[in-house]
Symmetry: C2
Subunit: 203 residues, 2 copies
DNA sequence: ATTCGCTATTGACGGAAAGTCAATAGCAAA
DNA sequence: TTTGCTATTGACTTTCCGTCAATAGCGAAT
């Protein structure tokens, strides 16, 4: 009874299987601690195979990070048919939902992943850039000028939101609506604070 | 000519020497890449000695991170004699100054250090907690209620400020005054956004 | 059914770096 | 000088990354 003769999959299948295992690992471990040794054992394949598919440990980490990132970006993609402020609120609502549905994954992504190798950092960097772009779009449609300071401000607001989500959505049980409302107000406040005077508001 | 007979220092001296070397390493490398091998070679001592003093690589990283953190916290300690808003502006001014004077160290601290082991993360966590506490004190003196949401808000604002400092103070050459002014306005805006209504301002 | 060819997969090898620990050797006091 | 304490060493073990020629599934051809 050889329950484990060598199983030969197509490259796409194998890749998908390995990456999926990697992403599920994020649920309760930091990415950086994901070892080639461990993942190959989990998948029941040799270590050599992982090097064949991902080239290196960094390569593996990169692909896992990008996959987790994309699933988050997809789950929180804005609805283009909504008016700017409605779209913002809708997106924020879905983000809070996602964070609470995938606690471990989100945490590993914005915390653990901020670490180690360039490839992983790059992946997270892009996620922030996308989120920032989404918010910038909202305010541009509301008539804000596209200054460099605005971009820095909203990019930083994304970092703000990540921290608030970890602290508020993961570590406390504040009602989701309250977190959404807070994030919404803070985004408006930050955008308004870009203008020199105490003038410009968007609500 | 034995330029290097075994030199015997007091534990405090040796410790200080090793940690100082570690901190200086941060100027142009991420902490996580600091290896026992390398540091022992730099210091001209055996690897075993580092394990004697720090127990493990994580232990070493932790001590380096805490030392760098403390030098930042000291350099930006608020002046108690100033009125709340003046103190806030003064602290922000000193932070921007510090960031631009110690580019590499600051970057390694808030970025690279956000990574790896629990001990390092913990050190940075405490730095954020201290900075948040300083800002909370300002707004409490201005009459803000000490709600949980306010704490989350200002804690998140610290993350916001870190991001803005990296993007604005390190990656661009915006005048310091402008960055300080922006940080100041954003802090006020965030604090104000905690109150449910569009009311409460502090300026 | 059997053979063949392509390639997915393996396992043995080499190397870097973390930890462990009993042995060694400065240095200050007797 | 000698002695005792302890700072310091260096050899050893372990873990994990990365390389590469050899092996063995599996579909296609006969």
């Amino acid at each position: 009874m050889e329950a484990d003769r060598r199983t030969r999959l197509t490259p796409d299948e194998r890749r998908a299987q390995l990456v999926a295992l990697g992403v599920s690992y994020l649920v309760d471990h930091p990415l950086e601690s994901l070892t080639i040794e461990y993942l190959s054992a989990q998948a029941g394949v040799s270590r050599g195979l992982l090097f064949h598919y991902f080239g290196s440990k960094k390569g593996l980490h990169g692909e896992v990070a990008r996959t987790a990132r994309d699933s988050m970006l997809n789950a929180t993609a804005p609805s283009p048919e909504l008016a700017p402020l409605d779209r913002l609120r809708d997106t924020l609502t879905r983000i809070v939902q996602f964070v609470r549905d995938h606690r471990g994954t989100f945490y590993s992504l914005v915390r653990g992943a901020a670490s180690g190798d360039a490839e992983v950092r790059e992946a997270l960097e892009q996620a922030r850039a996308v989120q920032a772009e989404r918010v910038i779009a909202v305010f541009r449609e509301l008539g804000a000028a596209d200054s460099e300071l605005l971009r820095i401000a909203l990019r930083s607001w994304v970092a703000f939101a990540e921290e608030a989500l970890v602290e508020g959505a993961l570590k406390t049980d504040l009602p989701s609506e309250q977190i959404v409302a807070f994030l919404e107000r803070s985004a408006l406040a930050v955008a308004a604070s870009v203008g020199t005077g105490p003038g410009a508001t968007f609500a």
